[in-house]
Amino acid sequence: MMSRYSRRLLRSRVWLTFSVGAAAFGLLWLVLILSTLVWNGLAGLSFSVFTEMTPPPGGAGGLLNPIIGSLIITALAVAIGTPVGILAGTYMAEYGRFDRITYAIRFINDILLSAPSIIVGLFVYEILVVPMGHFSGFAGAVALAVIVIPVVVRTTEDMLLLVPNQMREAASALGAPQWFVISRVAYRAAQAGIITGVLLAVARISGETAPLLFTALNNQFWSINLNTPMPSLPVVIFQFALSPYEDWQRLAWTGALLITAAVLSLSVLARTLASKGGER
């Protein structure tokens, strides 16, 4: 009797040890990846990275033009995607909360949320690059906006659904029309959550490479004209890392460190904002 129980206990311990091992295994990769990234990235980090253009093979230079390109494309993508996403989320949580179409949109939006980003690149290539006849920074921004929209829709809807109905009813009882209730009551209550969603979307697109490969393409030179191919940090990392030149590879590591630092700090910021919003 006793031996049977101790056998069960032993079995339990063995499996639980596996589970602890799994957690250690997961954390191991995080430590390995981040430490090699910091080690290799810091080696090439200097002031000139932020002040000089991408170099020709074998020359010295920095990452100024891809950094600026990435900032412009990301800003434009957020400027296009955020209003659409917030409005769509508003419809789903407010006007059309019980519409049948809202269920369909929620389902489709969840699929878009995790659709492969290279498909988005192909889509924008077909609808913008082919008709325009050339690659452009604008097409890159549209591709990233397509990725921003589902993220913002999801968080906006979730956050608006959390706003207590009594607040809406109170405002309606004072004679406020629905648009007024939404814009002055619901949006304000859900503000922190909606901003979190936008930050998460920015974090998501900052590292995206695949949708930019055949929309914004790349550019070795200074370019802030949205109608021409534009360099971006992820695409330059892709190109430089796969090149045989050591200077380029070193710059790729530095760029990778910059992107990871930006993405991880954005998501930590979003997380703290979200937990603060939840405490209220």
Partner: protein
């Protein structure tokens, strides 16, 4: 008399304000509705534009496109079999590793971890999902693949050298890059998906059920195996499908380490290619309409596969009403 006109003016003002309110409300309603419908339009647009772009390839090759292995831009003979095979095999390797590890992490976080560490370890694992895929790519190419080439792959080749079947699967030479390496990197990327959703699902297990099992003298593992896991089965499966969706469509990490070879090898240590890696590598250099159309056709196949997988994932998760990314 004066009071009466005041009243009429007020009445008129009120009527115009009311009209303005109604007009604004209807404008706002239509605006938000249009935005919501644009989400449907995007998905529809993706489907239609890819189908149209892929049409020349499907018309030329017909169903042979799915079964032909050749990929020759010079003779313009294109078949999707090698990239589709690579996509499925790398994803299979990834899921074989990521599913047990991810569920193990979720069990650790919900049942074993001290409360103080729970949140920080959970966030750390989720950071793995936040790292951009190009970072996995550059790390895989410069750090992971050389390590595998020098230390792991020769050992695997030696170990299985005398075993039938397995010596085919792990046949040398150790390239470093290839299907095996891509599968391992995908596994690391998918682990946080499986673990964070499984954790959320496990947390919904009613405490009463677990307490009843403990009261019957069940060990901790027996509680997990017979109460927590069965309760969360559908949700875990949803998380696994979501992870599979990511593994199938992942581009940059795979492109760096797959070797981009259009052939099907029995050995998983050999270089290969996937749908997304083929598109990423060749699209901007593709000359000729048929070449471009064939690449878009590959994208269309990937879109259809991931759509089905993700739809299944959402269906299974809908029962748990979890907030997932």
């Amino acid at each position: 008399m004066a009071e009466l006109t005041m009243g009429a003016v007020q009445f008129a003002e009120r009527a115009t304000t009311l009209k303005r309110f109604i007009a604004t409300d209807s404008f706002f309603r239509h605006l938000t509705r249009a935005a919501a419908i644009s989400v449907l339009a995007i998905l529809f647009g993706v489907f239609v534009s890819l189908a149209l772009g892929a049409w020349p390839a499907f018309r030329t090759f017909g169903l042979d496109f799915l079964t032909a292995q050749s990929w020759n831009p010079v003779t313009e003979k294109f078949g999707a079999l090698a990239p589709v095979y690579g996509t499925l095999v790398t994803s299979l390797i990834a899921m074989l590793i990521a599913v047990p590890v991810g569920i193990g992490i979720a069990i650790f976080l919900t049942e074993l971890c001290p409360r103080l560490l729970r949140q920080s370890i959970g966030i750390a694992i989720e950071l793995l999902a936040g790292i951009p895929s190009i970072i996995y790519g550059i790390w895989g190419l410069f750090v992971f693949a050389p390590f595998l080439q020098q230390h792991v792959q020769p050992a695997l080749i030696d170990l299985f050298g005398g075993v039938p079947l397995l010596n085919q699967l792990f046949a040398g030479p150790p390239y470093g890059i290839g299907i095996f390496t891509a599968g391992l990197i995908l596994a690391i990327m998918v682990i946080p998906f499986v673990s964070s959703i499984s954790r959320d699902v496990f947390e919904t297990t009613p405490a009463v059920l677990k307490e009843s099992a403990y009261a019957l003298a069940a060990t901790k593992w027996e509680v997990i195996w017979s109460v927590v896991l069965p309760h969360g089965r559908a949700g875990v499966l949803g998380g696994v499908m979501l992870g599979l969706g990511r593994a199938l469509g992942e581009t940059m990490a795979v492109t760096f380490v797959i070797g981009n070879a259009h052939r099907i090898s029995v050995s998983i240590l050999a270089p290969g290619t996937t749908i997304s890696a083929t598109i990423a590598n060749e699209f901007t250099e593709a000359v000729g309409d048929l070449y471009t159309a064939s690449l878009i056709a590959l994208g269309f196949i990937l879109f259809v596969i991931t759509f089905i997988v993700l739809a299944l994932a959402r269906y299974m998760l809908s029962r748990f009403e979890l907030r997932t990314r």
